[in-house]
């Protein structure tokens, strides 16, 4: 044992923080230190000499005295002068040797030797050790040869070779039983049957929900919200209307119907798309031709072109009806309307109005049927869903494509001033001052009528009554009877709205104005037979074309009484149409099944293309129309078929640009082109007149 004694000496050099057992000193010195400075750098401060107040005051000499210290292993607390009575000497004698052991700390452990008595007793209680203990005990008996009590029952247990229980029972205090008269009596209480009682609530209804949060799902949600807002706004606006209630009821009915069954009507749009796709596949080569085929032979044929047949449109129910009118839709360039009827006076039956699209050549998009043959039709420029139709029985009607009825929206009747003869042409006009829809019609009864749609009714007003000049007859009572002229076609000027031309059955063309109802501005002795079509040139303001059953097509300048150009086509000309892309190109169709395309800038005397376009010879072509944007024309014949033909490049020639000059485009070029031609023609024509 090492004991050390420390004697405190004189003044000690103290750094800032001191740790001594003396609490009082601590406090004072801490306070002193705080006075000096902060705790962190106390040690950096200069070491000041601090004296505790109760320090011994010693002289210098005493301070310098050296004191030796010896380290011994003696226990300072052990007594050094223990005496003991010695009986031998009958006196107290000091003990020389004193025990120097000083126990500083003692702790009794709780480990027992397994083989000790206490250990065995404990292990028996735990019942884990018996097997081991039996083994050990067997060893013990062999080794120790002791006849203790525990050995016998252990040996007997060994002989029994049973499980742990008998030795454990025997290890416990044995019951002293009467060897002669002992019976074990025990009773057991009845164990109540255990009944399980549980109560389970119905689990709350659970549904698995999974969704993805994509950008488009978020977009859809926003769009839906927008729709809802709009609808609620509309509903607020229309609250006072009673009609809203009916709509709501109907709406509810429809929604309940829709939720009832797997409605096939929802596939309408998809079915339409698929039908078009299927058709596209079937007519794939035609579609490709339409888009991309340009006849390469045209490079070698300088002055000629060809018409490439594309699709053929026909409808079962319109098979025996002739095509009496065709018109392209101004908005959807692939949609066109076909009117069916009959030109035969003796065979008059029903009529049909069909709308086809080039995207689906096998079935029309819209089908309307009527009791009387349709003779003419026109589609409104601003409202491409409104069609006006003229019938053989003199009526006119307006069809609205947006509505699903198969009947016209508005129809004239005998009361409202229908014509008494077939209506040969109808044309939409600009909306009148009250923004009502307005159209004109011309008929063989000599009247040109302006119809206006006023508050869902057709109101008519006669514009002009045609009369044949110079045929006033003296009637029975001095009445002047005028033979009524029969109008067969008309056309309005593109720019000057009030100016229009009328073609009549007598072969005359009248130039009229909407403002003068009784007089004509001018008369042209155009043809020998009825004028089938008149048409203003789309570019040149003065030029118009006319065709007739007298086999001729004539081009006029409306300021000059004689035609500029005359073309003889060897067969009655059914229809003539200007091309929308050039002022010098036009197409004419004849009853011998041929289509003729003329380009005056290339050939002033002959057609640059004369091609039979219908299969059977007896098939007469009745109408022709150019598509506003695509290089195709559609031709209707009297068998009810509509054929679509593509114009070859030669037929679509634009004026060649000279090298170095800019490519001039626009109507001015076209006008200039035609002017040039006309000047060539005009002068020799004027000369004999002079």
């Amino acid at each position: 044992m090492i004991t050390c004694s420390v004697h405190s000496l004189c003044g000690i050099l103290l750094p800032g923080v001191i740790r001594t057992p003396n609490k009082g000193i601590n406090q004072q010195e801490l306070n002193a230190s705080t006075e000096v400075g902060e705790g962190a750098d106390e040690w950096t401060l200069s070491k000041t000499l601090l004296k505790p107040p109760d320090q011994l005051e010693l002289t210098e000499a005493e301070l310098k005295e050296e004191v030796t210290r010896i380290l011994t292993a003696n226990n300072p607390h052990a007594p050094q002068n223990i005496v003991r009575y010695s009986f031998k000497e009958r006196a107290y004698k000091p003990i020389s040797f004193v025990d120097q052991l000083a126990i500083h700390f003692s702790l009794d452990g709780n480990l027992l030797l397994r083989d000790s008595d206490e250990g065995r007793r404990q292990s028996a209680r735990i019942d884990l050790a018996p097997v081991a203990s039996t083994v050990i005990e067997v060893e013990e008996t062999e080794v120790k040869e002791e006849g203790s009590k525990e050995d016998i029952p252990a040996a007997s247990a060994e002989e029994a070779a049973e499980g742990e229980e008998p030795p454990s029972h025997s290890m416990k205090e044995q019951k002293l039983t009467n060897q002669f008269n002992f019976c074990e009596r025990a009773s057991q209480t009845f164990n109540n049957p255990v009944r399980e009682r549980a109560c389970q609530m119905e689990p709350p209804p659970r549904a698995t929900f999974s969704a993805t949060a994509n950008q488009w799902e978020i977009y859809d949600a926003y769009v839906e919200e927008l729709h809802k807002l709009e609808k609620s706004k509309e509903k607020e606006k229309q609250k006072p209307l009673v009609a809203k209630k009916e709509d709501k009821l109907r709406g509810r009915k429809l929604t309940s119907l829709e939720s009832q069954s797997d409605d096939v009507t929802k596939v309408t749009k998809a079915a339409k798309i698929v039908e078009r796709m299927v058709n596209q596949n079937t007519f794939d080569d035609i579609a490709q031709d339409f888009k991309y085929f340009e006849d390469p032979a045209d490079e070698y044929r300088d002055q000629e072109g060809t018409l490439l047949p594309l699709w053929k449109f026909q409808y079962d129910k319109a098979k025996r009806l002739a095509v009496t009118a065709i018109c392209w839709n101004p908005k959807y360039k692939d949609l066109f309307a076909v009117g069916h009827g009959s030109y035969d006076f003796m065979k008059q039956s029903r009529g049909m109005l069909l709308l086809y699209t080039m995207k689906n050549p096998s079935f029309p998009e819209y089908i309307f049927s009527s009791e009387s043959g349709i003779m003419c039709l026109d589609i409104h420029n601003d409202h491409p869903y409104l069609l006006v139709v003229g019938y053989y029985d003199g009526n006119v009607a307006i069809y609205n494509l947006k509505k699903s009825h198969s009947q016209p929206g508005y129809k004239s009747s005998a009361k409202s001033g229908k014509h008494t003869d077939p209506v040969w042409q109808v044309k939409w006009q600009k909306d009148d001052l009250d923004n009502n829809l307005n159209f004109f019609s011309i008929s063989s009864d000599g009247r040109i009528v302006s119809w206006t749609l006023v508050k869902n009714e057709l109101v008519h007003s006669d514009v002009i009554r045609l009369s044949v000049e110079g045929t006033t007859l003296e009637g029975p009572e001095g009445l002047q009877l005028q033979t009524i002229g029969c109008g067969t076609s008309f056309d309005f000027h593109k720019k000057i709205d009030s100016l229009f031309l009328i073609g009549t059955e007598e072969g005359k063309i009248y130039k009229c104005s909407k403002s003068y109802s009784s007089q004509f501005l001018d008369t042209f002795d155009a043809h020998h037979m009825a004028v089938d079509a008149v048409s203003w040139n789309p570019y040149h303001m003065k030029v118009f074309i006319s065709c007739s059953s007298d086999w001729t097509v004539k081009i006029w300048d409306h300021t000059i009484k004689t035609p500029m150009f005359i073309f003889d086509l060897n067969s009655a000309v059914g229809d003539v149409a200007w091309a929308p892309y050039s002022s010098t190109i036009f197409a004419a169709v004849t009853t011998d099944g041929k289509a003729h395309v003329f380009d005056l800038s290339i050939n002033k005397y002959e057609a640059i293309c004369s091609q039979p376009v219908v299969a059977k010879k007896k098939n007469k072509i009745t109408h022709v129309q150019f598509n506003p944007i695509y290089p195709i024309i559609i031709i209707g014949d009297d068998r009810g078929h509509v054929t679509c033909l593509k114009l070859s490049p030669n037929l679509r020639k634009m004026p060649k640009e000279k090298k170095g000059q800019e490519i001039q485009k626009g109507p001015e070029v076209e006008i200039a082109k035609l002017d040039k031609l006309l000047n060539l023609v005009r002068e020799p024509a004027n000369k004999p007149a002079k």
């Binding site: 950008q215 859809d220 069954s261 096939v264 596939v267 309408t268 039908e275 796709m277 596949n281």
Partner: protein, 123 residues
């Protein structure tokens, strides 16, 4: 049930719609006609109408083929549609054409339905 009020529809609808509005039955007749026309078109092998859950509701093919086509094409269409819409949420899938060596499968998805037509274009 009442017969359909439109004169153009000669046959009665097999499903009973109490209180049918004329617009709905007319539309249904039109769609039926369109589907018949498609089926009768040259080269068309079969048409299947599948609802939003991928269960075919109308078919002209046999059951096992229909179920197979419906299940597989439904997944493909969903994938195609999500592709198109992920690129531009304002865009949407109009139709899907799968041309194989033997024939062409055309799928036109609608809001809730899917119309599948199998055509052999070369016939």
């Amino acid at each position: 049930f009442r017969p359909c009020p439109i004169a153009t529809v000669a046959r009665r609808e097999s499903r009973s719609h109490a209180g049918d509005s004329s617009c709905a039955s007319l539309a249904m007749a039109e769609v039926e006609e369109t589907l018949k026309r498609i089926q009768a078109h040259k080269g068309v092998i079969g048409t299947i109408v599948v609802n939003a859950e991928g269960i075919p509701i109308r078919t002209t093919l046999d059951n096992s083929t229909t179920v197979q086509y419906a299940g597989l094409l439904h997944q493909l269409t969903m994938k195609a549609r999500s592709t198109v819409r992920d690129i531009d949420p304002q865009n949407d899938l109009t139709f899907l054409r799968i041309r194989s060596k033997k024939h062409e499968i055309m799928v036109a998805p609608d809001k809730e339905y899917l119309l599948i037509v199998i055509q052999n274009p070369c016939e």
